[in-house]
Symmetry: C2
Subunit: 332 residues, 2 copies
Amino acid sequence: MPSGDKDVYDKYLGKLLTDISAHTEDGSACCEYIGPGGSGQYVKMVHNGIEYGDIQIIDEAYFMMKRLLHMSNAEMADVFSNWNEGRLSSFLIEITANILREKDPDTSDDLIDHILDEAAQKGTGMWTAIEGLEMHMPIPTMAEAVFARNLSSIKAERVAASKVFNEVPSVTVDKQRFVADLEQAVYASKIISYAQGFALLTAASVQHGWNLDLGDIALLWREGCIIRARFLDRIKQAYEENSDVVNLILTDEFKDEIRVALPGWRRIVVKGIEGGLYIPTLANSLMYFDGYTSEKLPANMCQAQRDWFGAHTFHRDDRPYVNSFHHQWEEF
Amino acid sequence: MPSGDKDVYDKYLGKLLTDISAHTEDGSACCEYIGPGGSGQYVKMVHNGIEYGDIQIIDEAYFMMKRLLHMSNAEMADVFSNWNEGRLSSFLIEITANILREKDPDTSDDLIDHILDEAAQKGTGMWTAIEGLEMHMPIPTMAEAVFARNLSSIKAERVAASKVFNEVPSVTVDKQRFVADLEQAVYASKIISYAQGFALLTAASVQHGWNLDLGDIALLWREGCIIRARFLDRIKQAYEENSDVVNLILTDEFKDEIRVALPGWRRIVVKGIEGGLYIPTLANSLMYFDGYTSEKLPANMCQAQRDWFGAHTFHRDDRPYVNSFHHQWEEF
């Protein structure tokens, strides 16, 4: 079957799609024709990149509760179950709670405590990160989720390094506030991660002329896939209100929630850094937010340096953008 | 000339190398035969990735002094000149000081204030970041330096976003301590960035059988290139003491300096996050350090999740690594 041919899809998959839709909770399809020329595979790849982000965000929340609050697996399971009743309701949060309650049939210990902390990968998150770099599209949350798996997988090096640097900074934490802040941090980081993923899809759709329906794609992921979540309705809604979304964080659907989340999210990232914890996706989601919403960045210095050593030229803030300038830098 | 052929290099470049060496400060060569099969190009690529990191680290230091301390360009120039007298002495620090003193011939203003904060790139930093991902080698400092350029280049989006989210958190800072801490943060982040770059070179050398002399490569970069710096002697020294360096941060040459830098470095990153500043390389260098030196990471949860939804299996901490396990997860 030729990839991306809508007529063929309709002919062979039309009835199948109808059958599947009949079995989803609200009758919406969980598979659909995406677009021409490899766009379906591309969307599935970005889905997986987002999945890497979701997983790592959750795992960092688990890590922080365990390391800073010294919570038991049962207590953490209750936190995730509680989150699963609210706006974070999703397959991944649900199984995280269940994993924390699972017993090891051999030892009767909690199984999670016997699983080795070395993450493997099949490569789709890596492809997404590479695609972000090649498209010049910043997707740090997903890229750092990939690097987090890489870093976890060199356990022997980490064990050796932990003996060279064995002073773990201690921090004091108010448990109840921390858990509430953490929910804000997880939710806001999730918004940011999806904002990056959908910005990448938007750029790819424009570049390849795919004309992707991003609201439909969000809806498509609501059922049957690993990132399925109530949250995806919100993204669908954002695209219904405005199909030309530049970045999801700017939409009416999300901007107020981000504003509310910010103080707690910042406190969480600060506590993680003060406590010496590796929390790359919680931190880089916030970092992306701070960069994306910053009118000024220090890239003027970068351009000055590049012009100094390589005559790469720069634009000026007081001249039309069409003009590039090279300065005859003085040798001091 | 066939790429990577040592005899040919010696025949054609031998005298040239001798001539060039005669013109460097200490008689050491600034170009040399690297190894077979594209290894020379590879080393140059990683050099450029490191250059992206160095530049972004410096630019974030400028950004923090400007935004949190409200220092004038002249004051910041003096800080960089001062740093250039010490262990940070390097071409890039030197030109940064000079750039801050440069006047715009047209307006007589400081030129830096008229340069647009949109960074361009030629792609070599991006290639390095992609190579890190493909080699499964975490190099977040360099990758985030690339994303920082991408994020800077969408200035119109940033300006629009800054109007939607216009509350900048305020922080109080003790200027003298901050500048001292910042020097620690810049220096430690630089060590981390080079540690990532040299770890990538080590992995590539093993994978391709290049047998790279990494100490010699450090020495080679001491002169004539953009990252030339006194600091590179230290890396050469680390490889002299032990040619099988696993990670530069563990070497006698650097570990004590990192230990000393840590408290100030942490304070800087915390202040940046509290102040809403985008400082991805200072923060991700610290994040890498905290991850690399962490005996335990939450990747056990990642492996449990992957086994739940995809039967991807996991290793156990109480069984030989050669065995993989799949658990029959209970459906709750």
